[in-house]
């Protein structure tokens, strides 16, 4: 199981002074990983790679972008037309945000299915949620930078959310704007923060990994590994598996970038921002649609805002809302079905969020919002108590070695 010793004399000398080589060897090479991880476990490393791609393309885009209301839109068009490979960099960055959210949402739902948030991984889960919140803030501010119509009105609508809070609301919004409407000061600070936050995310990702490596990855069976027979070294087994997943990821990502780069954006964002005209149909980016649906489904302004933020913040107490002793949904016949209902509920919320708030969409949105909170606040605690779980295997190796008991996932 142990990694080979450091043979190179210089590396040995260096490592004796700054133990980075042995650290890498310990955490990326010999790091014992459950041997039964399936492909849903690829999405953590994919998310990390997304972050690297976003920062790499973002840094060079920042060298070409001008954060001023009268130049921002034109500077983005200049990137598209005049800068060498500017079109590629912008499409990689723009669609990279969508891919990043896709990967992270799959990563989160994997955690939900296999109970990865449960003891002793609660802090790991929290850190993941902090990363998600930071990603949302970063993505929102990045969307404002091209200074198109959607940029401007997204900035207006989202910052106005804070006006819902009584007394402090209005002063907060004025403070966020640096003026009395979304304008140049707003654009400038959003740009500064859009550059800053990804590096904050990098910091939280490091903490996320430290928390992960303390107890190691969860696994599809949700049981702890009980000895060396249950784990394999991370390298080469999972480096290769992650690499294969990366190849598949790139096929999807590049198909989007090269064949449908504008599929996920609203065409009206190619119209320069106009503070005097709101576009008739305001829609956020797809990864915000479910929250947008929750916001709109509650007729009261303040309660709508609280419900929207609450839908995310509630996930911080999920480890305690889920009362089941068993982690993996494989051994939880009722929860397993409810998981898919919950996933469908989130997708329905997204679909409602995409459509205008009219007719039956209002009712569907309200039912789906109610179910979202019902699932987390009521159903999960009760099911965890009353459900009769299936017997857990003795160890990760046991079901394989006995040759029987093949799990249907």
């Amino acid at each position: 199981m142990s990694a080979p010793a450091i043979n190179n004399r210089f590396l040995k000398w260096f490592d004796d002074r700054l133990p980075v080589v042995s650290f890498m060897q310990h955490e990326l090479h010999e790091y014992p990983t459950p041997k039964n991880l399936n492909y849903w476990w690829n999405f953590g490393s994919l998310a990390g790679i997304c972050l690297v791609i976003m920062i790499a393309t973002g840094v060079v885009l920042a060298m070409q972008y001008t954060p001023h209301v009268s130049l921002a839109f034109l500077s983005v068009e200049r990137i598209m037309r005049d800068v060498n490979y500017g079109w590629l960099l912008r499409y990689l960055h723009m669609n990279g945000a969508s891919m990043f959210f896709l990967v992270v949402y799959i990563h989160v739902f994997r955690g939900l299915y296999y109970g990865s948030y449960k003891s002793p991984r609660e802090v790991l889960w929290w850190l993941g949620l902090v990363i998600l919140l930071l990603m949302m803030a970063t993505a929102f501010m990045g969307y404002v930078l091209p200074w198109g119509q959607m940029s401007f009105w997204a900035a207006t609508v989202i910052t106005n959310l804070f006006s819902a809070f009584p007394l402090v609301g209005e002063p907060i919004v004025t403070w966020l704007w640096g003026g009395f409407s979304v304008d140049n000061p707003t654009l400038n600070r959003f740009y500064a923060l859009h550059y800053l936050l990804p590096f904050v995310i990098v910091g939280v990702v490091v903490l996320h990994l430290i928390a992960l490596h303390k107890h190691g990855s969860n696994n599809p069976l949700g049981i702890p590994h009980k000895g060396p027979q249950d784990s394999i070294p991370f390298h080469p087994y999972y480096t290769v598996k992650d690499l294969f997943g990366l190849g598949v990821f790139f096929i999807v990502y590049m198909a989007l970038v090269f064949f449908a780069p504008n599929m996920l954006v609203e065409p009206i964002n190619y119209v320069p921002a106009d503070p005097l005209v709101t576009p008739p149909h305001i829609v956020p980016e797809w990864y915000f649609l479910p929250y947008y649906a929750i916001l709109r489904s509650i007729p009261d302004k303040l309660l709508g805002v609280i419900a929207m933020f609450g839908s995310l913040l509630i996930l911080f107490v999920l480890p305690w809302l889920d009362t089941s002793k068993v982690r993996s949904a494989r051994f939880r016949p009722i929860y397993k079905k409810l998981f898919w209902v919950f996933l469908a509920d989130c997708i329905i919320l997204g679909w409602v969020g995409y459509n205008p708030p009219e007719g039956h969409f209002i009712v569907i949105g309200q039912i789906a919002t109610a179910y979202y909170f019902l699932h987390l606040l009521v159903i999960m605690p009760i099911v965890g108590k009353v459900e009769r779980t299936r017997p857990l295997p003795d160890s990760i190796s046991a079901p394989v070695l006995k040759g029987a008991h093949k799990e249907k996932a």
Binding site: V60, D82, V83, N84, I232
Partner: protein, 185 residues
């Protein structure tokens, strides 16, 4: 457990290389090539963009520049010195013993027309803009230009004569479109 896997995978060590070594190197090489290709757009985006290249030449009207006068124009973000030389200045430039120069060049090689000297106004020492375009400027010991930063003296052909600069003032590519119009770049 893992050691068993290792010993089977590295079983055929006889010829010095295994299947796994080959796959490892092939994957590494593929990854390195891919990373290199992916990095190129990032690097190339920092090269001059299309609209920068589009303004890489400048046309200058010389009609208002009388003999003895000078004109500074901006070309690719840099000053270009255009001087309408007097007969005395032309003679001084042509009479120099080329062999004595630090950066030997004849005046003929540095001009299209003897009356006009066109040079990039950037001192070849450390990039300052030399003085000498205005009538009130110091022109150095050789009547051309004088760099105030570290005291380089250039003659009326823009050649380095004294001071730390290693090279003559650069001559940009230019063509006379007519007697009174020149295109730089």
């Amino acid at each position: 457990m893992a050691s068993t896997v290792h010993s089977t995978a590295h079983g055929a060590h006889g010829d010095g290389g295994t299947r796994r070594d080959f796959l490892y190197l092939a994957t590494g090489a593929m990854g390195a090539i891919g990373a290199g290709l992916a990095a190129w757009p990032l690097v190339d985006s920092m090269n001059p963009s299309a609209e920068v290249l589009a303004v890489s030449s400048t046309e200058v009207d010389l009609a208002p520049v009388a003999v003895g006068m000078a004109l500074t124009v901006k070309w690719r973000g840099k000053p270009v010195f255009v001087r309408h030389r007097t007969d005395k200045e032309i003679k001084e430039a042509e009479d120099v013993n080329v062999a004595e120069l630090r950066d030997p060049q004849t005046d003929k090689a540095r001009t299209e027309k003897p009356g006009w000297i066109v040079v990039v106004g950037i001192c070849t020492h450390l990039g300052c803009v030399p003085l000498g375009q205005k009538p009130t400027d110091p022109r150095g010991d050789y009547g051309g230009w004088f760099c105030p930063c570290h005291g380089s003296h250039y003659d009326t052909s823009g050649r380095i004569r004294k001071g730390p600069a290693p090279k003559n003032l650069a001559v940009p590519a230019y063509t006379f479109l007519s007697d009174s119009k020149v295109k730089i770049g």
